[in-house]
Symmetry: C2
Subunit: 224 residues, 2 copies
Amino acid sequence: MQNIRVAVDAVVFGYKDHQLNVLLIKRKVAPFQGSWALPGGLVLENESLEAAVERELKEETNVTIDYLEQLYSFGKPDRDPRNRVVSVAYFALVKPSHHKIKADTDAQDVAWFPINELPELAFDHHLILDKAKTRLRNKLTYEPIGFDLLSNKFLFSDLEKLYMTILEKKIDRRNFRKKIMSFEILEELDEKVSEGRGRPANLFKFNKKQYFKLQKEGFLFDIK
Amino acid sequence: MQNIRVAVDAVVFGYKDHQLNVLLIKRKVAPFQGSWALPGGLVLENESLEAAVERELKEETNVTIDYLEQLYSFGKPDRDPRNRVVSVAYFALVKPSHHKIKADTDAQDVAWFPINELPELAFDHHLILDKAKTRLRNKLTYEPIGFDLLSNKFLFSDLEKLYMTILEKKIDRRNFRKKIMSFEILEELDEKVSEGRGRPANLFKFNKKQYFKLQKEGFLFDIK
């Protein structure tokens, strides 16, 4: 008789303090008690995988997400010291300012971590996160995902930083701006904010209506 | 206590008789006894998901595949009438002429089916197949997957038909040929064969060495 459990884990990315962040919880129970981990847990008998990951996220972090995309399933026989567990990982992109995080149930803490300053993670969660980063990088080339991560109004420099973080390389700022603006899906607003010691810069807004219109017409968002 | 089983299923595509085909088995046991289904079965306690799908394929169809790519996990609570089963689906592209298929264990038959002439499938296997077709369609735009499916030597018309089947639309034959040939990864051979009532046409061969060389140099295969 097969003795394998099925779990779900969630990789939730957000852009915060001018950096790409990921949502982690601090485990309350063994194994890996006190370690940081991706939110997640065992699937209940009668719930779908999607319902399970939404429930676990809500329970452990207070974050409500309607749509999580399935990422990959992780099933190495020894990935959990207690019992064999196959985890179906999901991922989502959110605007951190729209969610009030709060630890609960088997999480003793919850926090956003900049992707470049991660603590050691429980289980094989660093593998799950790596897979999510690769997916994010691929999506970046054919979907304007930056706009799911940034606040409704943002500085152009934040969009640049986001792309550089995800692509893990410098970008040619002039060409990037030219290319993004040529899609005509960004609106430059009259509002200005100053960031650091630089002079005030204009805020931008994503024109979703225009994007969906272009998409219907066969427009391909394409940054490489 | 959670009572969910973990299974794997395999979607194996091949190009045969000038059509895209998928490998199916006829079930020997209930449920869906006598129905056609994707090869697959429960994961053993100590084997990885990849080892499980390779084993099931070998056992049920006699096909040996070293590399299967994970496709998606299917976990609706009622997808199996016996017990809740989460299936991790994999997919692979093969050259049918390189494999001798033979039914075994819980399969009473095994056969290649043209993708446009499928029988009714057991469980939610039509959903798994749909997902695989979508993945195949996406891959087609950034990888020369046709060459994994076709025989080593093939007619240009087979490459065309393959693209039309997967993309589910007519293609402009002249532009398609021009574009494919511009990549310089196809070699036109001196050998000719006649197909149907047409005059003999030249055979082609994929120049893998050249493709890998170009790929290293940052070449992007791109058909849209």
